[in-house]
């Protein structure tokens, strides 16, 4: 089952959001069963419809000075932060061809991240009831998706480098008092995002036969 992969590099959240909608239309209207956008974002905070805006802790002035945009999005979850030290993956999968089961797809994404971490010698875990991937008690990857017509969009962000971690203090991630970590923190060395991107894309490719 071929996977269409679109690699955008470092882009504004809005640009990738627009590309997601294009890919979504393509999957909906063609025989393409699954697509994947991978990218990194300039600093941005995204909030879901259900999010409590009080989970954005920084004032509008601080966010403006830091150049952090705020976007209201249709995914599940609460509030999260995106920045250039993260690898972002937006899988647009037509679940009619895989399994029409939303939680199965969330677990599928967690599994891919756990395998991707393992390839860099890092142990990632699930914590029941807390979607995402955890390293010890700290969150290393966040997941939040939307499903329309059984086609998925939005996806996951994996904290690779430390450059952004301090920006998580601008928010209460996922509306919870949790600690956030990165592959760099866990391994104690700088990890090139390009390598992690290759690993993750390959895992997606080999998993599409599911």
């Amino acid at each position: 089952m071929p996977l269409k992969v679109i690699e955008l590099g470092l882009v504004d959240f809005q640009d990738a959001w627009d590309r997601q909608r294009e890919l979504f239309r393509e999957v909906k209207e063609s025989r393409l069963r699954c697509g994947l956008i991978v990218c990194r974002h300039y600093p941005a905070i995204t909030v879901s419809r259900r999010a409590n805006r009080n989970n954005i802790l920084a004032s509008p002035e601080v966010l403006k000075n830091k150049g952090v945009g705020i976007y209201a999005v249709e995914r599940g979850g609460d509030v999260t932060y995106h920045g250039p030290g993260q690898l972002i993956a937006y899988p647009v999968f037509n679940l009619n061809y895989f399994k029409k089961d939303i939680h199965w797809f969330l677990r599928f994404l967690e599994g891919l991240v756990i395998r991707c971490l393992r390839e860099s010698g890092i142990k990632g875990d699930r914590i029941e009831g807390l979607t995402g991937v955890w390293a010890g008690r700290s969150k290393i990857a966040a997941i939040g998706i939307a499903v329309r017509n059984w086609i998925t969009f939005h996806g996951l962000s994996l904290n690779v480098q430390n450059s952004d971690l301090s920006n998580f203090s601008l928010i209460r991630p996922c509306g919870m008092d949790i600690m956030v970590t990165s592959m760099e923190t866990i391994s104690g060395k700088v990890i090139p995002i390009e390598k992690i991107q290759r690993d993750l894309v390959n895992l997606f490719k080999t998993s599409c036969g599911i």
Binding site: E74, G76, I102, H103, W104, L106, T131, I143, I145, V147
Partner: protein
């Protein structure tokens, strides 16, 4: 009268939360319009309208949970 029923979104998961109604009671809706957004775990799911007509009643308000097979609202077919 057509009931808007919560479908099975995941195996073994019997509940979802209504996160957003795209229409108010009394609004006209078309078949396949996005009617209501449901949330389960870290995912949202849009339920399309099963038919065209008037959304006469909203039975489950935003923020409330609903069980699989239960009615979220009622549409009077046109």
């Amino acid at each position: 009268m057509v009931k808007i029923l919560l479908p099975q979104l995941s195996e073994g998961v019997q509940k979802a939360t209504v996160s957003y109604w795209y229409f108010k009671a009394g609004d006209k809706v078309n078949e396949k319009d996005d009617l209501v957004e449901l949330t389960t775990d870290k995912a949202t799911f849009n339920l399309p309208s099963p038919c065209s007509g008037t959304l006469t009643e909203i039975l489950v308000l935003e923020g409330s949970t609903v069980n699989v097979g239960d009615s979220l609202g009622i549409i009077q077919e046109s």
